[in-house]
Subunit: 145 residues, 2 copies
């Protein structure tokens, strides 16, 4: 059984990565327990466990932003699933298509020649909410590797 | 600070979804704590916390299968990150490009007309290790919604 192959955290949950099946965009990460996965596999509707509300939620039941399941895969360690869906409308409660849209952190870009200051790091200097992150992440750009 | 915007589980970890930046393939899910994220953001090398070995690991340090960081984004809830990378070689310790390769579970496919039996469900009937899953997931294909 799939339940026997899954590892869960201390409260029985594992992350579900949700990806738009045709574009490849990562839309969100939800949390499932065995029952949520079972419902997802059998109903064709992505179903999660809400850690804040402590209840199952079928994505789209209240918003209409349904996730029609196309495929579900378990990873090699059995501790996460990848759910490919056809997302109706935005996946994010903010109205964004993806929960990651516009939320890039300032990151040095890696390459065999070493890290380089990315465009997002430069942009972050103009965003007060990311200024502290920028200071942290650019504080020691050259002291590694 | 990014640390103040992140939610963590009981042991201080959050999942990091790793995606090949150009193809969109989801390669793996790793786990980070604040320090692993800081290292990822500053070094350009994806760095995780190994829950089994209880140590930081820089992806590729032993295998050579480096993940060069292209971008990192926090999700709307601040409880997971999406790391876009340029993956050298296979991401999976099994030698597969992705940790999800060939690990599809039998899933009913959703559509406005209701769930349908997917090709993977049919295939699973011929795989003993998935037979129980198949029996579960196809046991009640019509009693929902």
């Amino acid at each position: 059984m799939v339940a026997g192959r899954l590892k869960r955290d201390a409260v029985g949950l594992f992350p579900a990565v949700v990806q738009q099946y045709d574009t490849g965009q990562v839309l969100m990460v939800g949390w499932m327990d065995d029952e949520a996965l079972h419902r997802t596999l059998t109903t064709g509707r992505a179903t999660y466990w809400s850690r804040s509300r402590r209840e199952y939620w079928v994505k789209g039941d209240t918003s209409g932003h349904v996730q029609w399941v196309r495929s579900v895969a378990l990873d090699c360690d059995g501790d996460t699933v990848l759910v490919q869906v056809d997302q109706v409308g935005p996946a994010c409660h903010t109205g964004a298509r993806s929960c990651f849209d516009g939320r890039e952190l300032p990151a040095a870009q890696g390459s065999p020649a070493g890290p380089t200051r990315s465009a997002s790091v430069a942009r972050a200097a103009q965003r007060p909410d990311l200024a502290a992150v920028s200071a942290t992440s650019t504080g020691a750009p050259d002291d590694d590797r």
